[in-house]
């Protein structure tokens, strides 16, 4: 906890927090990293396999194969989420299933399933991007900033 936050606490509260923190089971960060690396790597390898498959059997190039690959991975995620398997895999894999595009798919699909009971418009429509909305917003915003920086550098920096 940051020191700024701690300042607002009474001495008894601070004392207890130190006391409780010692007893708290910490996240096994190193183990989680290894698991995330293995599972995340496997998902990427599957993605690579799908890409190669599309390039080999269909008329795709390395530049155009991205879209159908992502669509296929998200379709698989949709099935796994719907059957209730994805969240169990995620508990094991952590960032391994959250960082690839499948994690983004899962965030959208799980919210859509969850709010189906509130109807299509206010339920599914209103809540589908509850979790993924901020990813889209800040993703687009950072892309805009990077594009701006690039433009400025090219125009005035003479790159």
């Amino acid at each position: 906890m940051s020191n700024k936050k701690k300042k607002n606490l009474t001495p008894t509260q601070q004392q207890y927090q130190d006391f409780a923190n010692k007893r708290e089971v910490k996240r096994p960060v190193f183990k989680n990293c290894i698991k995330a690396f293995l599972v995340g790597g496997t998902i990427c390898a599957i993605g690579q396999g799908i890409s190669t498959f599309y390039m080999y059997f269909f008329d795709f190039t390395e530049q155009t194969v991205g879209n159908p690959t992502v669509a296929t991975l998200i379709f698989i995620t949709m099935l796994l989420t719907g059957f209730g398997v994805y969240d169990r895999m995620a508990q094991f894999a952590g960032a391994g299933t959250a960082v690839p595009v499948t994690g983004f798919g899962n965030a959208v699909i799980s919210a859509a399933i969850e709010h189906r009971t509130e109807g299509f418009v206010l339920g599914v429509g209103g809540n589908m991007f509850k979790l993924a909305g901020s990813v889209i917003l800040f993703g687009v915003f950072s892309a805009f900033i990077i594009a701006l920086v690039k433009t400025i550098l090219i125009e005035w920096g003479g790159l």
Binding site: Y16, R23, E24, V25, D87, Q91, A98, N106, S110, T117
Partner: protein, 336 residues
């Protein structure tokens, strides 16, 4: 009768004449599956939403308790219950089915003992002959409100707890056979500035310790008076912290006699991380498992301390701390 500042001693010793407990599929796989009256194999329970399934849990628990007591539902004078969902709708909707005068309670996961204490007070003061009390929670409905969508793949830390799908109800009366409610200590809201909603046990432990300490002092008994001191849903971390706090406050509590409902309900190996939680947790474990053991004579005097974390998704998003509460009720066998 009031003893000290916040302990009621019930001279009439209201009797828990019957109980009803309902569980879900995860509980059916658990440690105490035999202590449930009804177990559902599906989280939806043939309903079209989790919230409706949640209401069904409370409905069935109440029906079962009334049925086992062999009375008519019209004979029940008051119904005191609650749950964790916004505006406690599952309980209020169940009260609509029941048609009994109703008090809706909210004490988060401490609701079960809040209800039992108030019901015993009503019966003890001749305010009613039959009072029904209970609490319930539904894993998916509660997760939906407090955390992420059920199927969302987010990794939970080892301190987080699993919300119980279950409903427990108890029927209290001034006469009859069964375990008796002898005293209750009402908790204060205690806030130690903990703000991690994935570590409720650590946040609730000070509240449990405070209430137990007050209870023992005001009732004038030693911790060894009870066969078991049962906390609601402190789980692994909260229990460890409480035991250390007792040592620090120089209260002698036997480690083997300090058990937690959240650690009793599931088997080792079920993926519940630190343990179970939820309003239904203390209700089903106490009204099912522990009262059954009292009826068999394995236990004679228990103190149930249900703990609740009084947060909402809004307060935790605004980085506010988690205020906690614990209510203690003593249940004893025999004697009038």
């Amino acid at each position: 009768m009031l003893a000290g500042h916040r302990t009621w001693i019930f001279e009439q010793k209201p009797v828990i004449i019957s109980t009803g407990t309902v569980g879900g599929p995860f509980e059916a796989n658990g440690n105490i599956a035999n202590d449930f009256d009804i177990l559902h194999s599906d989280l939806w329970m043939q309903q079209d939403s989790f919230e409706k399934a949640h209401k069904l849990l409370m409905d069935e628990a109440c029906q079962k308790a009334i049925e086992k007591a062999g009375i008519q539902k019209e004979q029940v004078q008051f119904f005191l219950a609650g749950d964790l969902i916004n505006q406690i709708t599952p309980t209020s909707f169940a009260a609509k089915t029941l048609g009994t005068p109703y008090f809706g309670l909210f004490g988060a996961c401490s609701t079960s003992m809040e209800g039992l204490a108030l019901s015993a007070f009503l019966v003890n003061g001749n305010g009613a002959n039959y009072v029904l009390t209970g609490a319930s929670s539904h894993n998916a409905a509660v997760e939906k409100q407090f955390r992420y969508p059920t199927e969302y793949g987010g990794q939970k830390p080892p301190t987080s707890q699993w919300t119980v799908t279950g409903g427990g109800a108890a029927l209290l009366s001034n006469k009859g056979n069964g375990p008796r409610v002898t005293s209750a200590t009402i908790g204060k809201v205690i806030d130690m500035g903990m703000s991690d909603p994935f570590n409720m046990g650590g946040a609730m432990a000070p509240a449990a310790v405070d209430t137990i300490e007050a209870h023992l002092k005001e009732r004038g008994v030693d911790a060894s008076y009870y066969d078991l001191i049962i906390t609601g849903d402190l789980a692994h971390i909260g229990r460890e912290v409480s035991l250390d706090l007792f040592k620090k406050h120089e209260i002698n509590i036997d480690e083997d006699k300090f058990v937690d409902c959240g650690l009793t309900i599931y088997r080792e190996g079920q993926p519940v991380l630190a343990g179970a939680s939820g309003a239904g947790c203390s209700a089903v474990v106490t009204y099912g498992h522990f009262l059954n053991r009292m009826k068999k004579g394995e236990l004679n005097r228990i103190l149930v301390v249900a703990t609740g974390a009084l947060l909402s998704p809004l307060t935790s998003q605004q980085n506010q701390s988690i205020p906690c509460i614990a209510h203690a009720v003593s249940i004893e066998n025999g004697g009038v």
